[in-house]
């Protein structure tokens, strides 16, 4: 194949690297935004309080200020920022500007002014008085309201435990973590004639923005047009439209373009986070390592507003059941709200939490029997063609075992696992973890994508599909797929930006559906367009369409006669005929799983508790890598996020005040270049029959096994049972006995 499977460079890579590609903040001085107003938000310093009064008098008098909004002069429609289509049922507890604030960082007022500096200066002059209400700040508290529950049982759990050679109970907690995309949240809205509004948003679904804004403003969706702008990273953080309702409202109310840009502190304290989890898992293993029984209880803290958190308990169950064949399983997952920073979509959305619990618990149980962690995974991992027990979904060509076998060999696992940790100050250890993740939302009702491909006069092809490249290179991947079908180079595919007015409805980028679902829609559209092209070319070349081949930008007949696509287009245009185009709607009929096994080596300084990851290998079952270079990029990026989750990152809500302590890059520690280990990536490409060219997802799963692999490595090095993430130096040291010289301290 000429395109698929090749390391095609990112199509807009040079534009990005040379500074030419414009993100939303770079568009502000465009003539279309003449008269632009800048919005600055006033946020609550209280965790839970009624807003008694908002005094805007001083703010309104400040230079450049045009308006100040708060709950009394804005629509009070309740909405849910995580919906993805108009009319979707969801707990609607959010409001644009709160009359009762529900977390530190909740939105209270919006100031609009001619410049950002003026708006922020005026925002500081808005005086708000509050009447405190009792806050719930601890997810384990009795009064933390529950918003969702999922439970499942299969097999005889008690018999399973009774028959087990060993039963081990493990507790794991995972922190709230921040997406920390380098581009802060931003939105731009312009009023258009007829009471319409155009929203330019770095988003994950233009239709989600449309639906949420429609709900928040109680507007017909067809008055809201949304175009996706270039996005400087999201990882789910920009999946929920946070600024868009207010931006659109102000643009309509003031009849001027409006932009709201959050600063970094506001991104940390007023957007979204990964829900924290407290979990308990009891694992019963037979002597040979088979999981005979597993009993899980997890609680996730979705924060002040539900957003998509009510899906989390079911999502975690869905992922849990897809990795191993378990004799008997019992699961109870609950989601509670607290008066803290809301949770939201974040790469993996439930998978990192449940895998942290499951993979650390499995290691703990395996350790009790002295079994090799890899051998235990191999004993239990699902085989190709298996079905999962919860929804009965077929898991497809599940190649988790291949990840384990090939990964372990490449990592020299057995020797390194058996090697002594050392008795000195620095201890070495290795750890591993498996993971699985889904491919799309099937059997969810909106799981379909419509793609249109049409021939352009210059011989290139245009792809019209609501594609939302979050920076991972999915546009390039789609272009490769289309190009492969049409005998073109990926660079010859023109991808129209996602636009609610010109693209068919789509779920957007979520649930690892881009390559698997959108890619298949694009492939089918490509096949259909190829057929239309060869049919038209057949007439021109006087040849049977079935014998024509598309290659190198040309249509080639068996005898060698050829016609360039541009030439074909010209001839058709000369005859007044329409240029070929094809539209295909692909409705998913399966939701196979992708699999992975990650292997980590660590060195722990027992004097300071500092953990260094010294080596890393990631083995991924992804069916087929459409673009191995982009796949490696996704995996390495996922490892950076997972390493932070394991060792460094904690949004750290203050338990007394509800304030986010990790509110800047200085206080919220990300792994920078010196923290990263050398990484090897190993791809298992055995093909998934239902995926385009056999491809499955890799973007989310890339970050899922990282934290448990690292935690398992630390526990291997230290013979500890650490399970509270992140493993900060303080937590590591607390698990180690005090050295002899410490006793002499007085």
């Amino acid at each position: 194949m000429k395109q698929v499977g090749h390391r095609v460079a990112l199509l807009d890579g040079l534009a990005k690297a040379s500074g030419g590609l414009r993100f939303t903040a770079d568009l502000l001085s465009d003539p279309a935004n003449a008269g632009l107003l800048h919005g600055a938000l006033v946020f609550s310093p209280r965790a839970h309080a009624k807003v008694l009064a908002v005094d805007t008098a001083a703010a309104l008098m400040m230079p450049g200020v045009v308006a100040v909004y708060w709950h009394a002069n804005t629509p009070a429609n309740r909405y849910n920022s995580a919906i993805w289509r108009v009319g979707q049922a969801a707990p609607c507890d959010e409001v644009m500007l709160a009359a009762t604030v529900c977390h530190v960082g909740d939105r209270v007022a919006l100031v609009l002014a001619d410049s950002a500096a003026q708006a922020r200066a005026a925002a500081a002059q808005v005086r708000v008085s509050y009447a405190d209400l009792p806050p719930v700040l601890d997810m384990a508290a009795q009064d933390a309201p529950q918003v969702a529950e999922a439970s499942f049982e299969h097999g005889d759990i008690d018999a399973g435990f009774a028959a087990a050679a060993v039963v081990v109970e493990t507790h794991v907690t995972t922190p709230r973590s921040a997406h920390a995309a380098i581009e802060p949240h931003i939105c731009l809205a312009r009023p258009e004639p007829g009471g319409r509004v155009l929203i330019l948003s770095p988003c994950q679904s233009v239709f989600a923005v449309q639906a949420v804004v429609a709900q928040a403003l109680d507007l017909p969706p067809d008055r809201i047009r949304v175009q996706k702008t270039a996005i400087g990273g999201s990882f789910g953080g920009k999946a929920e439209p946070i600024l868009d309702p207010l931006c659109a409202f102000a643009a309509l109310a003031l009849n001027r373009p409006v932009t709201i840009c959050l600063d970094r502190r506001e991104v940390f304290t007023a957007t979204r986070s990964r829900a924290a989890m407290q979990g308990r898992m009891r694992v019963g293993l037979a002597a040979d390592g088979q999981i005979v029984a597993r009993d899980t209880e997890v609680v996730v803290d979705v924060g002040a507003y539900v957003t998509g958190g009510h899906h989390l308990p079911g999502s975690m169950l869905q992922r849990l059941g897809r990795l191993y064949e378990v004799g008997a399983e019992r699961y109870l997952g609950r989601a509670v709200t607290t008066n803290t920073l809301p949770g939201g979509a974040f790469r993996g959305y439930g998978s990192p939490q449940i895998h942290a619990l499951a993979e650390i618990a499995l290691d703990r149980a395996a350790g009790q029997l002295g079994l090799d962690p890899v051998a235990v995974r191999l004993r239990n991992i699902v085989a190709p063609g298996a079905n999962e027990p919860w929804q009965g979904q077929a898991l497809g060509n599940a190649q988790g075992a291949a990840c384990l076998v090939r990964g372990a060999q490449a990592f020299d696992w057995v020797a390194r696992w058996r090697a002594p940790a050392g008795r000195g100050r620095w201890r070495s250890g290795v750890g591993m973890a498996c993971a699985t993740h889904i491919n799309g939302c099937f059997p969810g009702e909106d799981e379909s994508t419509t793609a249109t491909l049409r021939l352009l006069p210059d011989g290139r092809a245009e792809l019209i599909c609501a594609l939302h490249d979050l920076g991972c290179g999915s546009d390039t991947t789609m272009a490769q797929i289309a190009a492969e079908m049409l005998g073109l180079a990926a660079q010859a595919i023109v991808i129209a930006p996602a636009d609610s007015a010109t693209c068919a409805y789509d779920l957007g980028t979520r649930a690892s559906r881009l390559t698997y679902i959108c890619g298949e829609a694009v492939r089918r559209a490509g096949a259909a367009l190829a057929q239309a092209i060869t049919a038209a070319a057949g007439l021109e070349l006087n040849a049977a369409p079935a014998g024509l081949v598309l290659a190198g930008g040309q249509v080639v007949a068996p005898g060698g006669a050829a016609l360039t696509l541009a030439g074909l287009a010209a001839r058709l245009a000369a005859r007044g005929a329409a240029l070929p185009e094809a539209t295909e709607t692909y409705n998913a009929t399966a939701n196979p799983s992708s699999y992975a096994a990650h292997f980590a080596a660590v060195e722990v300084d027992t004097l300071t508790g500092v953990v260094r990851v010294t080596d890393y290998l990631a083995a991924h079952d992804l069916g087929r890598a459409i673009n191995p270079m982009l796949v490696e990029g996704q995996i390495c990026g996922g490892i950076q996020i997972g390493l932070g989750y394991a060792l460094l990152e904690d949004v750290a809500v203050d338990p007394a005040s509800g304030r986010v302590r990790g509110d800047s890059f200085a206080r919220y520690t990300l792994a920078n270049a010196p923290e990263m280990p050398p990484i090897r990536v190993l791809l298992v490409e055995e093909g998934e029959p239902t995926g385009p060219f056999g491809a499955k997802a890799v973007g989310e799963i890339a970050t899922v096994p990282v934290a448990p692999a690292i935690v398992n490595a630390v526990n291997h090095a230290l013979a500890t049972t650490l399970g509270d993430l992140p493993l900060t130096p303080a937590r590591v040291l607390a698990a180690l006995p005090e050295p002899a010289w410490l006793a002499a301290a007085s």
Binding site: L10, A17, L28, A180, E183, M629, E632, N672, A673
Partner: protein
């Protein structure tokens, strides 16, 4: 106040407030939107430019402090150099950190033409990327270093 900046080899005269950040002046005043503002506290490096050949966070410089000094932004680099090496090595994903990363790498290569991988990581410690895990970025810098020296990477 009126100041005069030397930007990418050109003299640019511009009116600025005394406390205006260089990053904002370059972006909004001079339309050089390649550099990005990710934090305004010198932690992310997305605003990195060269000031008299040294990598600096332009968000922490008051624009007037750069009067008469030589500033190079990503728009002032030859796209066929480091930017192309980033493309070839797969070192770009969302692209938001990339201009700053490229400038920090440029500063390194101007003083160290053959940096070891650990040296590259150290030089880029002030540039945060959330997409790539830095692996391909280090490879891109090594690739460009080799190209400049005319040797195989």
């Amino acid at each position: 106040m009126q100041i005069s900046l030397m930007v990418n080899g050109e003299r640019r005269d511009i009116e600025v407030a005394p406390e205006a950040r260089l990053s904002a002046v370059l972006r909004e005043g001079l339309g050089l939107t390649g550099l990005k503002e990710g934090c305004r506290e010198g932690e992310c490096g997305a605003c990195t430019v060269l000031l008299d050949g040294q990598a600096v966070n332009s968000c922490l410089i008051a624009a007037f402090q750069a009067e008469g000094r030589r500033i190079v932004t990503v728009e002032g680099l030859d796209p066929a150099g480091l930017p192309q090496a980033f493309v070839d090595a797969g070192a770009i994903q969302c692209g938001f950190c990339t201009p700053g990363m490229v400038m920090a790498a440029e500063a390194l290569l101007r003083t160290d033409p053959a940096p070891a991988p650990d040296t590259i990581r150290h030089a880029l410690a002030g540039n945060i990327c959330r997409c790539t895990g830095f692996v391909a970025i280090v490879q891109a810098v090594a690739l460009e270093a080799a190209r400049r020296r005319g040797v195989a990477a």
